[in-house]
Amino acid sequence: MKSLLRRIAWVRNLSLVTAIVIVWQIFSGYVFPKTNPSFVTLMPPPSAVAVAAYQLIISGELGQQAWASLEREMVAFAVACATAIPLGMAMGWWRAVYNQMMPLTELLRPMPPLAWIPLGILWFGVGNQENEFIIFLAVFFPVLINTIAGIRSVDVQMIRAARSLGANESAILFRIAWNAALPQIFTGLRVGFGIGWMALVAAEITGARTGLGFLMWDSRNFLRTDIIITCMITIGLLGLAFDQVLLRVMHWYLPWWREAR
């Protein structure tokens, strides 16, 4: 009962969003058709977007394209985690590794992932691999930087305490430093996923025949702004949903973390 009330109370937070949608509907649906009809094509009313979205969902097109995008994101995300986390741990823990890797990563890091698109297309052609490559680059660095910082943040006293209890180097790395770094690694995963998701759209616009980015770009040719907006909203919602999933996983996997703050 109480949780139901709280849920209803939360709906109040959607007041502004609702107001914006209503104003949008009034202008695109009733004002523009009388004053400047071309505006309606450029910015169709929410009702038209809803119809387009409904048709895209029924036909299965939206699901198909969203899945194509998600699949790319997941593959790239998995590869980026599998490489950035171990490398980040090594760089955070061993000074020598850090010193050698630092010039390389510091040079590559400021390059926008999108700057790799020309080379990516030449190397991998148009398709999944090229897209995954771009997303991989986008996810990799936030995860790497946060892993390094997480490993470095381990309290010296805590390491000393562990040593005094008989822990050797590997126990300190895997049972102390790793655990201490996990909250920040998760932060890196969330940031990385978000940046990867942004890069995905650009990668698909330039180098794909499927996916939400492709669908948007393709719809532009037919002035189907209703589909473009549907894709934009889908991208936003999926990004939000995945961030929430990561946050839930974090709270479930690190039950101690909230209490420790």
Partner: protein, 256 residues
């Protein structure tokens, strides 16, 4: 059996800024007999924590030797465990797993780990809290876990760096009694660093007073009052006064 001998130990730090040398400890010599509760008392900055870190082998002396039962102290291990002022419990492990950490590092058999851990959790009065995370405990409870964790591995010497300093006054008084009770159980050799005179007089067999900058042995004072000691006992007050004068005198001299 664990007798600690600190023999003519000097510690000099090189300042990172300009490479000048800072003498932290000068010619420190003392002996802690087996089963003694030994306190090192002094101002902040007199090098007492450095001294403790050297006993734990987290730092090396510039010259001089430290030995436990005749064997030189080389590297940190379970033979000398530390209870720190701030909780250095592992926040990602439950109370139980914090206590078993050192036992697992010792590679003891599973049932022995279980038995030992629950015995020490009982000893510090935390039965029923095994599954809690450190973040869910009060300051006093955390220090109990820290104590249980350090004692469970059966160290030869228990080191304590201002173990009660971060607690509020009431918890602190209560924990002093607890510390004494726990120590009296198995009469472990203890070296405690503190700046609280009353705490040192209440708990210690011997108090070593360090003078500040550089830290030198100012005086070694055996406390032979019967336990448990009362803070209102005239002799207790007398010793307290005596130590306070000693430290105050040093303070005036070093500030002048």
């Amino acid at each position: 059996m664990a007798k600690l001998v600190v023999d003519h130990v000097n510690k000099v730090f090189q300042l990172v800024r300009d490479g000048t040398e800072l003498v932290a400890l000068k010619d420190i010599t003392f002996t802690v007999e087996d089963g003694q509760f030994y306190s090192v008392l002094g101002h902040s900055g007199c090098g007492k924590t450095t001294l403790l870190n050297m006993i734990a082998a987290h730092e090396k002396p510039t010259s001089g030797t430290l030995t436990i039962d005749g064997k030189p102290i080389v590297s940190p291990d379970w033979t000398k465990t530390i209870v720190f002022q701030e909780h250095t419990l592992f926040p990602w492990y439950s109370v139980y797993r914090n206590v078993t950490f050192g036992l697992e590092m010792k590679r003891l058999p599973k049932d022995e780990i279980k038995e030992t851990a629950s015995r020490y959790i009982d000893l510090v009065g935390l039965r029923g809290f095994e599954d809690r995370y450190p973040g869910e405990l009060s300051g006093g409870m955390r220090q109990r876990v820290s104590l249980a964790r350090s004692l469970a591995v059966q160290p030869l010497i228990l080191l304590m760096d201002e173990p009660l300093a971060a607690l509020d006054a009431q918890t602190r008084m209560f924990m002093q009694d607890e510390l004494e009770r726990i120590w009296e159980r198995d009469r472990k050799t203890v070296v405690m660093v503190t700046h609280a005179i009353e705490e040192a007089v209440k708990l210690s067999d011997v108090i070593l007073v360090l003078s500040p900058r550089p830290g030198r042995v100012r005086s070694v004072i055996p406390i032979d009052l019967p336990r448990p000691r009362k803070e209102t006992d005239p002799r207790f007050l007398e010793i307290k006064e005596q130590i306070r004068d000693l430290i105050f005198q040093d303070f005036v001299e070093s500030s002048a």
